[in-house]
């Protein structure tokens, strides 16, 4: 049984199921359709960041700048929108800013030969600084009415952010599991030297994963600011940690080369369910962080590997 759980990496899934059972026993509202819809909606932002983070961590990198990238792209996009230009252009520019932010990370890491942790630690502060310069510390509001559809609209009862996230998940899954790109991303993280000798253009793949991460951070930024009807200078603060937590909860190795996107999806879902459950149960604020941390540790324990494997 234990072998079976390990072989198919079922730890995170079992953790999620246990969590579902416990919370639905404790709260009658949890398993309602409208609440599950809520959880999916609230998880979409972290899910997008975590997907990008999975690509990055698979190459044995890390992207600490995603929260700031989210904010800077949302703010630039919103400034374009509120200046009266068509909001579609605002979205396009926001996405470009996200990709550009990722490109800068990637260039320093791949061509500057600097450690991802250090580079993205720096750009995390840099991008946040640019956000603050642009906003003067105040939220940008009065976003165009049409723009709110992205965050608040729904299609056959499913919120649009959830639909967008599912599309991203499908594309990312195909990219990682059914394409040369995916195999090479795993190869770069598994052993960079070997990958290089096998003819993988390592630097290009490093650029690519950080650009994916930046792009998805911008998509998340658009969803968040559309839901709120405003772009906040503090948006995405600390989200990098939630994204990393989701990836690690999903069983992806921080040393790269090993992990799955499905694991990340489950990891992000666990975090979303915990937050929702604790709110529904009206757990005292003092206890929330402690409970959350304990649940994360237990979930990781369930997926623990033998040290010599």
């Amino acid at each position: 049984m234990k072998e079976f759980v390990r072989r198919y990496k079922l730890g995170p899934l079992i953790g999620l199921i246990i969590l579902f059972i416990i919370i639905s026993i404790l709260s009658h509202q949890f398993l309602t359709l409208s609440n599950l819809r809520n959880v999916a909606l609230q998880t979409s932002v972290n899910m997008l960041l975590a997907v990008g983070m999975t690509f990055v961590i698979l190459t044995s990198g890390i992207d600490l700048s995603v929260g700031s990238t989210l904010a800077v792209s949302a703010v630039v996009g919103s400034l374009v929108m509120t200046s009266g230009i068509n909001f579609g252009l605002g979205i396009v520019i926001a996405l470009i800013v996200g990709i550009l932010a990722g490109l800068i990370n990637g260039l320093f890491i791949a061509y500057g030969r600097l450690a991802p942790f250090i580079v993205t630690l720096g750009t995390m502060t840099l991008y946040r600084g640019i956000t603050e310069i642009l906003t003067h510390g105040s939220p940008i509001y009065n976003l165009p009415k049409g723009f709110s559809v992205i965050g608040t609209g729904s299609l056959v009862g499913i919120p649009i952010p959830v639909i967008l996230t599912v599309i991203v998940l499908i594309v990312a899954w195909i990219l990682l599991n059914r394409s040369v790109t995916g195999r090479r991303v795993y190869a770069v993280g598994g052993n960079e030297e070997v990958a290089k000798l096998a003819g993988v253009p390592v630097k290009k793949y490093l650029l690519l994963v950080y650009m994916i991460s930046g792009f998805l951070a911008a998509v998340a930024g658009m969803i968040l600011s559309s839901r709120l009807g405003s772009a906040e200078p503090t948006a995405g603060n600390g989200y990098e940690l939630d994204a990393i937590t989701a990836v690690v909860l999903g069983g992806t190795s921080l040393f790269g080369g090993e992990g799955t996107l499905v694991g990340t999806i489950i990891g992000a879902a666990i975090l979303g369910v915990i937050d929702n459950g604790l709110n529904l149960l009206n757990v005292n604020s003092f206890w929330q962080d402690a409970v959350k941390g304990a649940i994360i540790l237990i979930a990781i324990m369930l997926d623990r590997k033998k040290p010599n494997q």
């Binding site: 609230q42 105040s138 939220p139 968040l224 709120l228 529904l280 604020s285």
Partner: protein
């Protein structure tokens, strides 16, 4: 060679990004003159303002109030932004002491952590005036702030009035442990108890943050779809809660916030929010400079200077910050 080229490319891209962003902001000019570029005035007329963060419109308004008053009174103001980091602020206060400013206006990141900075200023005989929050020890010449306990009490009164003393209320707490959180909660909780028909059905923290409040409120609405009113300990959370309520198509949930942020005031005026308890951060900043000037002129100061709170309800002319 190739390596060099790529490094140049990286630098160029970064520069393009920074400048592109800079040029797209048109109102930027006001904040660029913060730095201590004018160092010719005598130290007597120099005041240092160490502000906890400029990442929040409240403190930006405090800074602006201090700045315009300083300009008016011919005082050279040095503004230091600690980005909510205690040790950064400690260093900045030390730097202000080194520069021998005439007085320090301190808006501390943390009431415990900055006591040390105040003691250092005390040793250097530089008077310290605290703004909005004070410190736990050390000698503070005067403390300028609005009364947070009273703000909570006023918010409770508005909710009691809005519900005619009967209904279910949600309380959104700020960052747990922050003095503003504790004081607003104390004032609110004590007052709301006096209305026996009102029940606080859920009390959750959203860290003074709008997007967190959106999610937290959505979750609470699942558990308590019949809530009648929301007390948010600041306007950012009130605005997040408002979005959650609007998106769930609930009508007639009364929201009361604290702070006086422009966006919240607008929502009070169009009826989306019930009321707001406005603080006046620009008045805090302005009074800070005035009191420093009083010190220079040898006047004695009271230990606290209250900044009046303003109750904002629909139709008021208050603008907010």
């Amino acid at each position: 060679m190739k390596k060099k080229l790529s490094l140049i490319l990286v630098a160029a891209l970064t520069a393009v990004m920074v400048t592109a962003c800079g040029s797209s902001s048109s109102q930027n000019s006001s904040s660029s003159s913060d730095s201590s570029s004018k160092s010719n005035s005598s130290s007597q007329k120099t005041v240092g303002l160490a502000v906890s963060t400029l990442n929040n419109p409240f403190f930006v308004s405090m800074r602006d109030g201090a700045k315009s008053e300083a300009d008016k009174k011919g005082i050279h103001l040095i503004v230091d932004n600690a980005n909510n980091d205690q040790s950064t602020q400690l260093n900045q206060v030390q730097d202000l002491i080194q520069q021998k400013v005439g007085a320090i206006l301190l808006n501390p990141v943390d009431s415990q952590g900055l006591a040390q900075a105040v003691k250092m200023a005390n040793q250097a005989n530089i008077p310290v005036i605290t703004l909005d929050r004070s410190v736990s020890s050390g000698k503070v010449t005067t403390f300028i702030a609005s009364d947070s306990v009273k703000a909570g009490k006023m918010a409770a009164d508005q909710i009691i009035k809005a519900l005619n003393g009967k209904g279910k209320v949600v309380e959104l707490q700020g960052e747990i442990g922050a003095s503003s959180e504790r004081d607003r909660e104390k004032g609110f909780d004590n007052e709301i108890k006096t209305a026996s028909g009102i029940q606080v059905v859920s009390k959750q923290s959203a860290d003074f943050d709008r997007s967190k409040a959106l999610n937290v409120m959505e979750n609470i609405l699942q558990a308590h779809p019949d809530v009648n009113a929301v007390f948010a300990q600041n306007d950012e959370m009130a605005l997040g809660a408002l979005k959650a309520i609007q998106q769930s198509n609930k009508k007639n949930v009364k929201i009361v916030g604290i702070d006086g942020e422009g966006e919240a005031i607008k929502n009070v005026n169009n009826g989306s929010m019930y009321a707001d308890i406005a603080q006046q951060p620009s008045v805090e900043g302005q009074l800070g400079v005035d009191k420093a000037l009083d010190l220079f002129n040898g006047k004695k100061l009271d230990s606290t200077v209250p900044v009046p709170l303003k109750l904002v309800t629909k139709g008021s002319s208050f603008k907010g910050f």
